[in-house]
């Protein structure tokens, strides 16, 4: 397992959220929208701002925020 932030994940990869490193209010909103610790997230689009698939919906995030979402790869998904 390799820890990184969400911007470093390639498009199409599925990763597990390991930690959120943002302001408490923002963290809470992220969790409520499905970006909980241990939640599985698939990155759909990369780029400066990115789109993820989480809990059955597409959620757009600014790159600034994505850098604060720490994730880890899961087996068979490097």
């Amino acid at each position: 397992m390799k820890a990184m932030d969400l911007t470093q994940v390639g498009a199409g990869r599925e990763v597990r959220v390991s930690r959120l490193d943002c302001a408490p209010g923002t963290c809470q909103r992220l969790r409520e929208m499905g970006f909980c610790e241990n939640a599985m997230v698939r990155k759909i689009r990369g780029g400066a701002d990115l789109v993820c698939w989480v809990c059955g919906t597409r959620v757009a995030l600014s790159a600034r925020l994505a850098r604060q979402i720490l994730v880890e790869t899961v087996d068979g998904n490097s």
Binding site: R29, G34, E37, V51, T57, A60, Q68
Partner: protein, 682 residues
């Protein structure tokens, strides 16, 4: 149910895009605004629905929200209604949760919170067709059994499941019962103690656990003992660095994941869909901007090219009505009032109805299809540079139609400074009421023969760009330089694309047409009659030009002329500016009355083009038209906007600031056009 028994109130809640408004409309028959982007419903709306037994129940449709911990004003509105703290609406007798069946895990998160309010809950599993198409197995019976509340499948857009829903709403709904998710032990102790303190003080109070969690989060309402206990626990958790809010969210999601798994409900696969294929184009950093520019160009070209035909028909109809009145009535003041006052004033504005409808048609398509959320995403980086987030884009775009819904849509903006900045600059986005002014002045500046419709569209686009560009510069000044602090980062749900419902779009256009025509038939008619009197009395001269100069309106215009002269505006334009203080489009009807144009666009433009100063030089030179256009891009000539800003900001300070800065900008802008034009020999 007897007549004198109070009606039951049922709140309709759910995540954004779950189909609440569609279901609400289907149940009540109301034309609640429905869109395919988060934040369409920004205030509560009520309507009457009937159960299968004919019992009338009041439904209140609340803004979409992701959780009961409010982070934006629209979510706060929803929370207050659910808690019975909203003026004019009693605490709901039951809650109808609308969930997107294709996205159950995230949608049911809110349901777990709603169930803790101590109010009976019914869940509408909406969009089951979409869910099934995505391979999600829907088992309402299983879900009802496992969550302890009734689940009913619906497809609100096609009216499916409504009979069952009406039947269920007519029955007594059961209380949600005990909490199903497992609270972490450390937190459970705290919540148990706070809830017990609450029950001791208010034994009849329902949902004490939910109340305890609110108090722990810093809520102020509740018995003193419970509040003190919550403060002590909060402090203890802080010392222990225990992130209890995170633990609660995780515990709820863990329960939902397990429960959905046991019920045999998945959330579909994240496979590539046509939504992703379209997104690959519209979210591309290069092609996406091309798509946006193409859509805007098509919009503005259509406003001129397609609208030209119905506008001509309206023009002909008003000319014919004027001609008929001239022939059928004896000459006199009453005939002048009807022809030069009523027909000129009302006709001068009604003629622009087709352009306004085209604008709403395009905005409706964009909104309903799901594209608007993408545009917000695309613009986030630009907005970020001026200190705002992409969420401010949708209110600003709505302001192209009208600043009032735009300003109300700022309720979805979470950061208070972002929201205030968006409100302050929203009226700079050219609204539909400016279209008549722009069209008339563009036509007066350049003869139609030498200006094809694409060039007119280009000129119009330039005016929109001027307003938008200035809005961005001022947003940067207000937000980054004056207010300081950073904007919260963007988190935005991108709904799947949907084929726009032409019915929804047509209904929206119809509503707009009714609002516009009602305004033309009331405010503009009254102002037109008043203006006709002010332009014709005292009735001292027979010559219309002489009479206008000596009239009350003429006297006001003459008094203003020294101030307006540096801008190239004469006293007649001064009358137009004063008359249109309440509503911009009144400028055109005023000019129609001032120039006796009889409600015909062509007649007004000709009269303006030949109007001259006493020395014989033309008033409406291209430069003066441009100065006047710039004035109208910037000036806040709309009393309704002032009123809504007062309501949304809760003070007169901000509307007063807005009026002053926009008036200053309008004057300075128009003066600059004349000064630079003069230097360049214009």
């Amino acid at each position: 149910m007897s007549q004198d028994q109070p009606r039951r109130w049922i709140a309709v809640v759910g995540n954004p895009n779950a189909g609440k408004s569609t279901l609400f409309n289907a149940l009540t028959g109301l034309r609640q605004r429905v869109g395919n982007y988060p934040g369409v419903t920004v205030e509560k709306r009520t309507g009457t629905a009937y159960t299968l037994h004919g019992e009338a129940i009041e439904l209140v449709d609340l803004p979409g929200m992701y959780s009961l911990s409010p982070r934006s004003p629209d979510e706060e509105i929803a929370r207050k209604v659910l808690r019975g703290e909203s003026d004019g609406i009693p605490q709901p007798d039951a809650i109808l949760c609308v969930v997107d069946a294709s996205n159950l895990e995230r949608n049911l998160f809110l349901v777990t919170q709603v169930m803790e309010l101590g109010i009976p809950v019914l869940v509408a599993l909406n969009m089951v067709d979409v869910a099934e198409a995505r391979g999600v197995r829907i088992r309402p019976g299983e879900l009802s059994q496992r969550m302890g509340v009734k689940f009913l499948p619906t497809v609100a857009t096609r009216g499916k499941g409504l009979v069952e829903l009406r039947a269920a709403l007519g029955q007594k709904l059961s209380d949600p019962g005990e909490r199903r998710w497992v609270m972490p032990p450390q937190l459970a102790t705290a919540v148990g103690q706070i809830a017990a303190a609450w029950r001791d003080a208010l034994p009849a109070e329902l949902g004490a656990e939910g109340r305890a969690l609110e108090l722990l989060a810093g809520g102020k309402d509740g018995p003193e003992g419970a509040r003190k206990l919550a403060a002590a626990w909060r402090e203890r958790f802080r010392e222990q660095a225990y992130d209890w809010p995170a633990a609660v969210v995780q515990a709820r999601y863990a329960y939902l994941k397990e429960m959905l798994g046991q019920a045999g409900v998945g959330h579909g696969q994240a496979h590539l869909t046509w939504t992703d294929r379209i997104d690959a184009l519209v979210l591309n950093p290069v092609a996406g901007w091309g798509v946006l520019a193409g859509i805007l160009t098509l919009l503005f070209t259509s406003i001129f090219s397609i609208a030209a035909y119905p506008m001509e028909w309206i023009d002909i109809a008003f000319s014919a009505a004027g001609g008929w009145l001239q022939g059928a009535m004896p000459a006199g003041l009453f005939r002048d009032l009807l022809v030069d006052g009523v027909l000129a004033g009302v006709g001068g504005v009604v003629i622009f109805l087709p352009q306004i409808l085209i604008l709403f048609f395009f905005l409706g398509l964009l909104e309903d299809s799901g594209y608007l959320a993408r545009a917000a995403f695309l613009l986030d980086r630009v907005m970020h540079r001026v200190g705002l987030s992409g969420k401010s884009f949708i209110p600003l775009l709505s302001s192209y139609a009208c600043a009032i819904p735009g300003i109300m849509a700022t309720r979805t903006v979470e950061d208070p400074k972002d929201r205030l900045t968006t409100i302050l600059v929203a009226p700079l986005m050219s609204c539909s009421a400016r279209i008549p002014v722009y069209t008339t002045l563009i036509a007066a500046a350049v003869p139609a023969a030498v200006m094809p419709s694409w060039a007119k569209a280009g000129a119009m686009l330039g005016l929109y760009a001027l307003g938008t560009g200035t809005a961005f510069v001022l947003a940067w000044l207000f937000r980054k330089k004056m207010m300081g602090g950073g904007s919260p980062p963007l988190i935005l749900e991108l709904p799947p694309y949907r084929r726009p419902s032409l019915r929804t779009v047509a209904l929206r256009m119809w509503e707009r047409a009714v609002i516009f025509l009602r305004r033309a038939g009331t405010v503009i008619l009254a102002l037109s009659i008043l203006l006709w009197f002010l332009c014709n009395f005292p009735h001292t001269a027979e010559d219309p030009t002489e009479r206008l100069a000596q009239s009350f309106a003429g006297q006001i215009g003459h008094a203003l002329e020294p101030v307006l002269r540096p801008l190239g505006f004469d006293w007649r334009i001064g009358i137009g500016l004063v008359a249109s203080l309440a509503a911009r489009e009144v400028f055109v009807s005023t000019m129609s009355i001032v120039y006796h144009a009889g409600g015909e666009e062509e007649g007004l433009v000709q009269a303006m083009r030949s109007a001259s100063w006493p020395d014989g030089s033309l008033i409406y030179t291209p430069l003066t038209c441009l100065a006047l256009l710039v004035f109208y891009v910037y000036a806040l000539q709309c009393l309704s906007t002032v009123a809504v800003v007062r309501r949304e900001t809760g003070s007169w300070k901000w509307p007063a600031f807005m009026m002053l800065y926009m008036a200053g900008l309008a004057y300075a802008g128009a003066w600059l056009v004349q000064a630079v034009g003069g230097m360049l020999g214009g």
